[in-house]
Each structure stands twice: as structure tokens, then as C-alpha cells.
Amino acid sequence: MGHLFTPSVMRLVLPVLYAVVIVAVLPLMAGYIVLMERKVMADMQARLGPMRVGPHGLLQPIADAVKLLLKEDIIPDKADRLMFWLAPLVSVTMALLAYAALPIGPAFQIADLNIGLLFILAVSSLGIYGIVLGGWASNSHYSLLGALRSAAQLVSYETAAGLGLISALLLAGSLSMKDIVMAQYDQGMWFIFYVPIGFFIYMVGSIAETNRAPFDLPEAESELVAGYMTEYSGFRWSLYFLAEYANMIIVAGIATTLFLGGWLRPFASYHDHMPGTSIELLDALPALLVLGVALYCFLLAPKQPVKIQKIVMGLVGILCLAIAGALAGSLFASPAVLQGVHGAFWFMAKVFAYLYFFLWFRFTFPRYRFDQLMRLGWRFLIPLALVNLITMAVALLMSREWGWSLRVTSILAIVLTLGVAMWLAKNDDVDSVVPVPESE
């Protein structure tokens, strides 16, 4: 039995264990993100959102999942069977594959590749095949048109998002996700403060890359019915759905790792360098927060109309209580455990904050027209990203060569880039009128 725990095997078992955890938790998380989206949407639209299945609609995702499993899975007769079956698979596998390098906690990372970020970008760019083949295989004029449009959108916004990331990479100096977070820890400042425009460009790019919010044109209801997903139904359709939400979480994860300091707690470096009181408020914050949620659940439980909802609400309360206990307990355990558990909490908090912005955009902005969307991508975002990259590089150089502090030079860079952005937006009015050809 001894050799079972040899380091090489352990190096193999732990990642597999993490992988299993992630793949198991992901569909559940995607489901609850859908619920979060519907609840936030309802809240913004002066209504309640799903309230019927479980207390406050908490069991809605399970109900959706069961419905999707039971729904009939139709394959159009002249569709290309192999491709029709393969396309959603490609989409989902690529989406799940990208989790390999995502650092949820200091220890909780499946594989710390030294080309971590590039790996995630490469794999998520393969997701296009899922969409294109799906559109083509369903053999309908509309879905092909939708698929090609979304592929064109993905390709053009990937460049913009990539350039946005590179500007953060300059500061980090390494591609491995763990090193990037550590770089932010060493420099004591999240990269969002050094290169906010890069963050903005990446955010816009990532929204477009996951076909969401103002850029969800490929499945714009009014023109192309449901884009490449039109012919899919039942479980196959839910694979696409899962891929979309998994992509959303990945994109949020990348943004958190690169710009918002991954699993680092706010003011992490100050906490460690200046001993001060050992347990600062910020350490206790996660535990208190989850405790608050638990109390709220217990408060609400008796008021639920249906008996089953009371029980479920109670269970949710107990679950939150357990998490709060774990968070509080880890305060007294060794710092490694503390960083691990709290790191995961902070990582998830930032991811959900980032996703909240996704949802917020979706319910406030109308939809871009396809030509405006492409023009915005090519004539505004990519040039701006290039300029941002150059100014950031110059700022970095200045701080290294002439010893100015990076904060000063980065502010200079930001001001310069904003100037260029204004100029870009002004002279080529991004939403200028489509030149209407003089017809008879």
C-alpha cells in the first residue's frame, strides 16, 4: 500500500481529485448562475423572478436540469448526424478543459502550467468550432447565418481581449497563473489599478467572446430566431447552455486572476508585512458575511408558504452555517489552511462580482447591430488595446530605467491612453450612421 502515496502518484491523484470536484460542481454552479441572472434581472425590472420552485426559487436550477433531461432530443432529418452530435461536445469539453489552469486557491489548482494563461486562451478559442459546426450541421439557413456571425464576432473580439490581457502580463512577467497572482501580491497592488483600461478592454472583449449582453446578436431573437442553437433541443441544447455559462465563469476567473488579484484578500500584502493585530477585520469578514446569510435564511424559513420550502430554507441555512464555521475555524488553523480556504472564498466573491457586471450590462443596454459590433471591435477596441499596450510598456520601462515608482508612470500611461481613446471615439464616431447608398 505504501507506494500508493508516493509523490509522483500524489502529484497525479490530487489534480484528478480537483478535476472531479470542478466538473461535478460546474453544472450546479452554472445552474445557480442562471438563477442569479433571473433574480437580478427581475430585481432590476421591478418584479420578483422565479419564486415557485423551492423557497425564493432556490430549487429552480434543479427543476430546469430535470426538464432539460426529459425533453425530447430532436435531430433535424437532413442534418449531418456526426457533426450535429459532435458540435455541442466540442463546445463543452473546451469550456471544461479551460478550468485546468484556473487558480481558485493557492493550493486549489489542477495544474500550474508555466503557460497557464495561454493554455486557457487557446482552449477557449477552440470553442468557436462548437458553434460553427453546430450552426452548419443543423442544416437551416438561419442557424448557419447565426453561427457564422457569432464566429466572426468571437474571432475579432478575441484579439481585443488578448491584447487587453497582455498589458497586464507585462506587469506580471510570467504566464503561469499562480505567478501572476504572486506578482500582484509582491507589488502590493492589483493590476486593475495599474492598467484599468486594459481591464475595461478585456471586460468588453470577454462579454463579446461569450456572446452576451449588448453583443448577443447571433441569437438575437428578432432577426435570427436563436442563431446556431435553433435546431437543438433537450439535453444537447443544455450542453451548449452549460458551455456558455462555463465560458462566462472562465472569463470571470481570468479577469479575477489577472486584474483583481486572484485569491488574494484585499490589502493582502499589508496584512502580512505589517503584523498589526493578527486577526484583522478583513480576515473575519468572509465568516461574518456567510453567517449573516445563514441567519437570514433561518429568519425566512418559518415564513415560507409551503412546508417543503421551510425545510429547504432550513437546510440552506445550515449549509451556510457550516461554511461560516469552516471560514471561522480556518482563522485559527495554520496560515496555509487560512490562505487556502479564504483564498477560495475571495476568488469566488470576485468572480461573482464580475458576473454581476455581466448581468447588469445585459439588462440595461440594447443590442448592437452586427456592423456596429464589428466596427466597435476593429476600429475602436483593438487600436485602443495596442495603444494601451505600448503606453504601459513605456511606463514599465520608465519605472525600471529611471526608477520612478510604477504608480506614477502608470497614471501617466492611463492619461495618455484615455486621450487616444477620446480622439479615437470622436473622429471616427463608432456608432456613425451606416452610409445609406443612394437608391433610386
Binding site: 434581472m41 432590476m44 425590472q45 421591478a46 418584479r47 439557413h141 438561419y142 449588448p214 448577443d216 438575437a220 431573437e221 428578432s222 432577426e223 445585459r362 439588462f363 440595461t364 443596454f365 440594447p366 443590442r367 448592437y368 447591430r369 452586427f370 456592423d371 456596429q372 463608432v430 456608432d431 450612421v433 451606416v434 445609406v436 447608398p437 437608391s439
Partner: protein, 380 residues
């Protein structure tokens, strides 16, 4: 009998015309055609070469029915034409018949009619704003608009028992006295509505994407508008300052002060701004009106059986969609000889081809929304 148009309808006919032109069918079951309207678009790539509207799916022969009903009995049918602005339909019809009889509703009835019609104008514009924003992709305004519209429908329900097809007015005046608290309800709505409409403005007016999707889309010049007989907000957005409430005042509009909003370029954005401003003006009218609703009878002294002397009359009002006119010919019996309704949506829709030509497919959706048509009125 199987109507060939419905069978050929559902499949996407991609008959290739000319170089790479295709025919794209929008509707009649299309989420954004506001009812059963089918638009046949001839596309060159993404650009619309020309469009042809195929209507008639909701034709119920209202004008034929009118010839077999008495004047009072036909009044409820009028609500079913533009079912979004039923109150103003009723006002138009009742005033036309009153003119035919040569009488006039008493001042109290005219004032209450003005208030209810202006509330109906706000409700109709709210429904337009909600669905128009939804077509262009903004998911939130529709819920805000319907929340406000609900308040108005409550007032209607309290007054005449119905929310949509209200049949609120009778020929010669009003059937019901205003319920206790009518003024308070209208006042509460108007006070609350002031900052609500600012909410919509913050959400849309300066929104870069909204401006991008609506500015310069579906332009209609003033000359084209007049030539095509377009009326209402669409005409005013093209720069013609003309509103029947000012040009030929009816009901009690000459007693109140209000502005006529107009814009210059006549594109989708201008029509949006004109309608938003109109909602504000309607609110002002309501506020002025409920200050003092004159007392007095609510029904003119016309007998129970209406037999207008032979002759004809044309009377039109400013409905939310445009000039809604009634041309009634009477032959002295209790049933009208001929009732012709001048439907603003029908004539405004004719301008769709002029606006859509040269725009993109995504814009056609916005243009149909901005003309603000209701198919019940287009088809009658």
C-alpha cells in the same frame, strides 16, 4: 379554402433574384411585427432593396358590420380596432355622431373625455416604448412601462369597469358620473409619472447603443411624410408642427395650454423623442384639467333613439397613432348608411417601404416599431 399565402408563408423562400438578392419573409408570426403583419423584404446581402407589406390577416369587416347596427350598438366595435387606444377611438366616433346630430356634449362630459383620452395617449405611448425598446434589445424598459400603464388601466377600470376595450363614452356625453376619488387617482398618477418618465430617459436617451441603433434609421422627410399622408408623432418628428388638438380643437382641448413637440430629421430617434415629450404634455393637460372639472349634466339632451337627418360628416381627432377620422353617411334611419374609418396606422404603415429602403434587416425591426402600428386598426 386554403389561402396560398399562408402555406407558402412559413418556409424561408430563398428564391435567388438578380445577382445575390434573396426574399426574406418577416412574419406574420414574427416576434417583432406587433401583430399579424407580414413584410416581404427583397435583400441584397444585408441591405433592404425594397419591402412589401402583406396585411389583411386581422380584417373583421368592421365597416360592413356598422351598416347593420344602430349608432349606439356600433360604439363597442370601435374599441376593437385600435385596441391599444380604445378610449380615443370611442371619443372620435361619439364626437362624429354628435356632429352628425348637430349637438355637442356638455362641458363636464367634454372635460372628463379629455382627461381619459390623454391618459389613454400616455398608456398607448408607454406600450409603444416598451415593445419598441424590447425589439431593439433593451430588456428592462418594457417592465417599467407596463408598471405605469397598469396604473392608468386601473383608473379606467374604476371608471367604466373595463381596462382595454373600455366603451367609456356614449354618443352625447358620458354614461357614468366620475367615481369618488377620480381626481385624486389621476393626480397621484400624474405626480408619480413625472419622475418615472425621467427614469426611462436616463435608461435610453443618452445610451450610446440606443442612439447608435436609432439615429439616422428610417429617415422620412417632411415632404415625403405629407405626400404619404402620414400623421401623428411620425409627421411631427419630420418637422411638421401640426396637431389636430391645436389645428381643429375638439372635446375641451381649447381650454388648456400645452406644447406640440417636433423634431427635424424624422429618424427613429426623433420619433422616440417626440413621443416621450408628448407623454409629458399629456400629463400637463391632465393636471390642468382635473384642477376644476366643471359641474353640470354629463349627457346632452338627445333622445334614446338616434335618427340623424340624412347627410354626411367627417370628424377626426388626434389619436396616439395619428389622425383618426370617421366619415359617416346617414340616410335618416337609426342605422348608419356608411361608416368609413380613416385609420392612422394603415396610412402610416404605407411609409414603411420609403423608410426601410436602403436600411439593414435589423433596422426594419426598429422601423416597424417606430411607426407604432396596431394591426387591429390597419386591417379593421
Amino acid at each position: 379554402m386554403s389561402d396560398p399565402r399562408t402555406t407558402e408563408l412559413t418556409n424561408v423562400s430563398t428564391t435567388v433574384l438578380g445577382a445575390d438578392e434573396i426574399i426574406l419573409n418577416m412574419g406574420p408570426q414574427h416576434p417583432s411585427t406587433h401583430g399579424v403583419l407580414r413584410v416581404k423584404l427583397r435583400l441584397d446581402g444585408e441591405r433592404v432593396v425594397d419591402s412589401e407589406c402583406i396585411i389583411g390577416y386581422l380584417h373583421r369587416g368592421v365597416e360592413k358590420i356598422a351598416e347593420h347596427r344602430s349608432y349606439q350598438q356600433f360604439a363597442p366595435y370601435v374599441d376593437r380596432m385600435d385596441y391599444v387606444a380604445a378610449v380615443s377611438n370611442g371619443l372620435g366616433y361619439c364626437e362624429a355622431v354628435e356632429k352628425l346630430l348637430g349637438t355637442e356634449a356638455p362641458i363636464r362630459a367634454r372635460v372628463v373625455r379629455t382627461i381619459l383620452t390623454e391618459l389613454q395617449r400616455i398608456a398607448s405611448h408607454l406600450l409603444w416604448l416598451g415593445t419598441h425598446a424590447l425589439d431593439i434589445g433593451a430588456l428592462t424598459p418594457v417592465f417599467y412601462c407596463f408598471r405605469e400603464r397598469e396604473e392608468i388601466l386601473k383608473i379606467f377600470e374604476k371608471y367604466c369597469g373595463a381596462r382595454l376595450t373600455t366603451h367609456a363614452f356614449r354618443i352625447g356625453g358620458l354614461q357614468y358620473e366620475t367615481y369618488d376619488g377620480f381626481e385624486q387617482d389621476v393626480k397621484r398618477f400624474c405626480d408619480d409619472f413625472a419622475h418615472r418618465i425621467d427614469e426611462y430617459e436616463t435608461l435610453l436617451t443618452e445610451n450610446r447603443i440606443w442612439v447608435g441603433r436609432t439615429k439616422g434609421v428610417g429617415i422620412l422627410s417632411a415632404a415625403d411624410a405629407i405626400a404619404l399622408g402620414v400623421t401623428g408623432p411620425v409627421l411631427r418628428a419630420s418637422g411638421v408642427k401640426w396637431d389636430l388638438r391645436k389645428a381643429m380643437p375638439y372635446a375641451a382641448y381649447d381650454l388648456y395650454k400645452f406644447e406640440i413637440p417636433t423634431r427635424e430629421t424624422g429618424d427613429t430617434y426623433d420619433r422616440y423623442v417626440v413621443r416621450m415629450e408628448e407623454m409629458r404634455q399629456s400629463r400637463l393637460i391632465c393636471l390642468q384639467a382635473i384642477e376644476n372639472i366643471p359641474t353640470g349634466p354629463i349627457m346632452a339632451r338627445i333622445g334614446k333613439v338616434l335618427k340623424p337627418p340624412p347627410g354626411e360628416v367627417y370628424h377626426s381627432i388626434e389619436a396616439p397613432k395619428g389622425e383618426l377620422g370617421y366619415y359617416i353617411v346617414s340616410d335618416g334611419t337609426t342605422q348608419p348608411y356608411r361608416v368609413r374609418v380613416r385609420p392612422p396606422s394603415f396610412i402610416n404603415l404605407q411609409a414603411l417601404d420609403k423608410m426601410a429602403r436602403g436600411s439593414l434587416v435589423a433596422d426594419v425591426v426598429a422601423i416597424i416599431g417606430t411607426i407604432d402600428i396596431v394591426l387591429g386598426e390597419v386591417d379593421r
